[in-house]
């Protein structure tokens, strides 16, 4: 049986891992290579590296780091941040990324998903969506969750999957940083309309939040989190033991 994936997300700025709470107030955590290796050794099923650098120098540094990561860590790597063109896909895939996550780039150019899926295959294209409740609806936000695009999140995700997105990362702005559990309501609304894997993001504060996620919504394939892993509040090896004890299919690493 396919296992539920646990995915730490590493936001990288100028070569260092950072994590914001509600996308504001970034604080330095650690080296991407060291932290990535630590997670991989402790049972992470996949790593997401998010490049939040704006400058071109920073971007070059990021791809150097990505190469180092890909030659040290042998689990699937997803890369996002600043992906606006097929050349951006090419740039990170050549450095060892397996999947590429698009967010604002797809909002600016909806053909990006279609073109990338045609060239690299659906399995390579991840649509990442930051969504928030506005007037009782789920709305897509851009620019790190600061700008309301006016797009309906459910419609946007359906369209992305039709265009060839092979996986959805749904980040709820409403629960992000609150550490009181994933946004089950929003996730359910999405799993009901798509047939591709859905990765839950935003809100995990403790091991029980992951158990609740997978027990309540069996259609969710993976749980993603950042700070609770970075600050050692949840150890991935402990999390996986608890998932296993609760009958949730999981990959346990042998000692």
């Amino acid at each position: 049986m396919i296992t539920k994936r646990i995915i730490p997300c590493l936001d990288v700025l100028d070569g260092r891992v950072v994590k914001g709470v509600n996308f504001k107030g970034l604080s330095d955590v650690s080296s991407p290579v060291t932290l990535g290796k630590y997670y991989s050794d402790n049972g992470a099923d996949e790593l997401v590296f998010y490049d939040i650098t704006a400058s071109s120098d920073g971007r070059a540094l990021f791809t150097d780091i990505l190469k180092e990561v890909a030659s040290t860590i042998f689990i699937p790597l997803t890369v996002g941040g600043g992906i606006n063109t097929l050349d951006d896909f090419d740039r990170v895939l050549k450095c060892g990324a397996d999947k590429v996550s698009v967010n604002s780039g797809a909002i600016k150019n909806p053909n990006l998903i279609l073109d990338a899926a045609k060239r690299y295959g659906d399995q390579c294209v991840v649509l990442s969506v930051d969504a928030k409740r506005v007037e009782g609806k789920f709305r897509v936000f851009a620019k790190g969750g600061r700008v309301d695009t006016g797009l309906d999140a459910i419609e946007w995700i359906k369209r992305g999957v039709d265009n060839g997105a092979g996986e959805i990362v749904l980040n709820s702005i409403d629960t992000d940083g609150v550490k009181n559990g994933f946004d089950l309501e929003m996730l359910q609304a999405v799993t009901e309309v798509v047939s591709v894997p859905v990765i839950a993001s935003g809100g995990a504060g403790k091991i029980d939040d992951f158990i609740t996620l997978f027990k309540t919504l069996p259609k969710v394939d993976a749980g993603l989190a950042a700070s609770i892993f970075h600050f050692g509040e949840v150890k991935i090896s402990d999390l996986k033991q608890e998932l296993y004890k609760n009958g949730i299919p999981t990959r346990i690493i042998k000692e």
């Binding site: 049986m1 396919i2 296992t3 994936r5 991989s40 099923d45 190469k67 890909a70 030659s71 040290t72 042998f74 689990i75 699937p76 895939l93 050549k94 450095c95 060892g96 397996d98 295959g121 659906d122 399995q123 092979g166 996986e167 047939s195 591709v196 894997p197 394939d221 990959r251 690493i253 042998k254």
Partner: protein, 203 residues
């Protein structure tokens, strides 16, 4: 010398790095004369079967790979590279493969329940055939490896060395003499995957 056959399909960065990580020197090349001298050959591949087999044939590398395999050089096909070893594939049509493994490549959608997602993506457990294939000498039943595929090896029972359960028992790996194939990605399967590559290099 271990050679990764480069015929212009997919990105070989991680695969190359995974051999460095186990301390094995590899050469990535599309040069026939280098492949002819290899002690071990890796046939990678991602994407569609037709594209890949056409590229292999256009470069003439199909003949070298088959000839070296028949001469007894250990050959490992990975993912689409495994599928290319088969007699034929029914991915978007019907295409001949290299004919090193008897059987054919068919869509997983024809054997798994409708509610399961396609492609089969993620970590799944292996059930190893007995006796264990030499390349699995460091593995135990239930070890997880990373899959990304929509097609699988069918009608190849006598060559199956491991299966994985995804609504049906799907072929995870095959072996016929010195010819090996893994549907999953050892280079993305953590320490379990690296131990498979290590065992292959130790053949």
């Amino acid at each position: 010398m271990v050679v990764i056959v480069d015929y212009g399909v997919g990105n070989l960065y991680s695969l190359k790095s995974s051999f460095s990580a186990i301390g094995v020197e590899v050469v990535t090349t599309g040069d026939k004369s280098v492949i002819e001298k290899a002690d071990k050959i890796i046939l990678p591949g991602v994407g569609a079967f037709r594209d890949a087999i056409e590229k292999l044939k256009a470069t003439g590398l199909d003949k070298v790979v088959v000839e070296r395999a028949k001469a007894g050089v250990p050959l490992l096909g990975i993912c689409l590279g495994m599928q290319l070893l088969f007699d034929k594939s029914f991915e978007y049509g019907e295409y001949d493969g290299l004919g090193l493994i008897k059987g054919e490549i068919r869509p997983i959608g024809s054997v798994i329940p409708k509610e399961l997602k396609i492609p089969h993506i993620g970590w799944n457990a292996l059930t190893l055939s007995k006796p264990k294939s030499e390349i699995f000498k460091y593995l135990s039943d239930g070890d997880c490896v990373y899959f990304v595929h929509s097609y699988y090896g069918a009608n190849c029972n006598e060559f199956v060395t491991a299966t994985t359960e995804y609504g049906a028992n799907l072929t995870a790996s095959v072996q016929s003499g010195n010819v090996y194939g893994c549907q999953f990605h050892p280079e993305k399967s953590g320490s379990v995957g690296l131990s498979i590559l290590k065992a292959f290099c130790e053949l």
